[in-house]
Symmetry: C2
Subunit: 324 residues, 2 copies
């Protein structure tokens, strides 16, 4: 197996990626890693047999315009994706800007034949602790019912293969539980999903149940999905922030917080969107994982493990079959 790792585009620079690559190479000496970035920052990896350093003099910045990535051919991000394009690697990991990385993936990496639209998939932290996959979370501003059906098949296969769900429950994000709810596209998507025997469709789900953990794969158009993801994320973050401020506003609250610290900390971790990793790019010929911009070594390592698992389990190949 061969993986390309973009070492430069994260908020914390190359240091956490270098550390993660070392650890990964120890665990998986059989996997060849192509690490793209400024070679002078990657000297610590030089002596490792399974690691190849690919010098890249440019960096895609978080502040760069999304389309600007087209002109950054010498960047660590584009060089990593170009290796995927040329079939030199099986998967790619980057901590760079989601918009730029996704745009570059669309430009340089082939879609699975027959897939109309690629998309972004997020894994949500939930109340029950079960992982809920939500897709599309914003790659597309509009989608057709057929595209939602593709998302459902891909998400279901991912949930089965990578998350070991036996018969993943699939639901459609909608504005009501009844089958006639929503606009024409969502009504049509409901019908297609209901009649598709490759998935275990359980009906519509409303925004309120999104974080319950009852459903394994929630399918949505990119516009609603982006709003749903960010609205729940925003509510969770602001509530935790308000709780902290509120507790520290009184002496009694402070004492309470001191006692409850381990529980409150665990809760924060549990609903932390960062801990879940980043987004997955679905529908491409290669496994592409976008780690969080602020990823530390552990988070980068987890993203590498995920892309390893996707390649090892041949998720892309299985999706090709599943979509036929």
């Amino acid at each position: 197996m061969k993986l390309a790792i973009d070492a430069m585009s994260g908020d914390l620079g190359s240091a956490p990626v270098v550390e993660a690559c070392k650890k990964f190479a120890e665990k998986h000496p059989d996997v060849e890693l192509y690490v793209t970035g400024k070679k002078e920052e990657l000297t610590a990896l030089e002596s490792i047999n399974s690691i190849h350093i690919v010098d890249a003099r440019d960096v895609v910045l978080m502040t760069d315009s999304v389309l600007g990535v087209r002109r950054k051919k010498e960047s660590s991000m584009v060089k990593a994706l170009m290796m995927a394009r040329k079939d030199e690697v099986d998967g790619v990991v980057s901590c760079g800007s989601t918009g730029a990385f996704y745009t570059a993936s669309m430009l340089f990496v082939k879609r699975i034949e027959g897939v109309e639209k690629s998309c972004l998939m997020a894994t949500l932290p939930t109340y029950s602790g079960n992982s809920t996959c939500l897709m599309d979370v914003g790659a597309n501003a509009t989608n057709t019912a057929e595209q939602l059906q593709e998302f459902a098949v891909m998400g279901s296969l991912y949930s089965k293969l990578v998350l070991n769900k036996e018969n993943p429950k699939v639901a459609l994000l909608n504005i009501g539980a009844e089958d006639h709810k929503g606009d024409e596209m969502h009504q049509e998507a409901y019908k297609l999903l209901k009649d598709n025997d490759k998935i275990n469709f359980t009906g519509n789900i409303e925004g309120r149940e999104l974080l319950s953990g009852d459903i394994d794969v929630v399918v949505t158009d990119g516009f609603s999905g982006n709003i749903a993801l960010k609205a729940s994320e925003g509510a969770a973050i602001l509530l935790m922030k308000a709780m902290k401020e509120s507790l520290f506003a009184t002496l009694r609250g402070k004492i309470g917080a001191l006692f409850a610290k381990p529980q409150l900390y665990a809760l924060k971790e549990r609903f932390d969107y960062k801990s879940v990793g980043g987004a997955l790019f679905m529908g491409f010929e290669k496994a592409i994982v976008k780690a969080h911009g602020g990823s530390d070594a552990k988070a980068v390592f987890n993203a590498m493990e995920l892309v390893y698992r996707m390649v090892d389990l041949d998720v892309v190949g299985r999706m090709k079959e599943g979509l036929q």
Copy 2:
């Protein structure tokens, strides 16, 4: 001023409505209240001069189908709305099912001339404590850019007149901050809102900032608005629930919770969607307020105060002018 109050459709039956009407009549002896419901349940109101009991033998149940309301002409809900239709009252309050009450309002109450679509407006509890109005939250499954512009003008006027905001900040809910973000409809809505000098348009807002309290009026299509409202509501509810369970899982956590109780309770109240009241129906010739289904006497009273304020300030009349 004359108001119709549906006494029967809430989860708690007529008792809280009777109590609220008594209190309201004491505070506003000049307002004539038409209370619709089973007269034998409303005897406590008989002796009050400003209260008229309108006997209604039927009740719209929470479990009734939304369209079933058409056949419930003898219900307390429809009788209250029919008085609005016949210009016998200036405003209506109900604690009944949102779907049925909204459908009945569309069937029986005139829209403001020139308003293409009526909508549902929710007031969100926010981090800063400022009230953010979000509309449409689900009356419509699709909307046009022109309709979003109408919502913005109505919401802005409401915020100015009822919530006393001097120059309410209006934003468009979208999947990115830049003006070209979103589908065609949202791009077009951005342009219309930017060029409209009746409102103080500040640009796009993402789901993550919805509960920050920075914006006074957030405009959205009914589909995304419903998803956004319910996703944030769901996240807040599940996080509070998880916190409670997590604290009570250990002795240390329990002690902490005991000390922090007042602060945690205040936080729960602050983010409680119920405490905000219900939804407002915008775009009708009458002031229509939907109190929460589980409203107690205080919540019903607050809803009555809100409809009183809307009539007193002639919000509907001012909207008519504003929309010209």
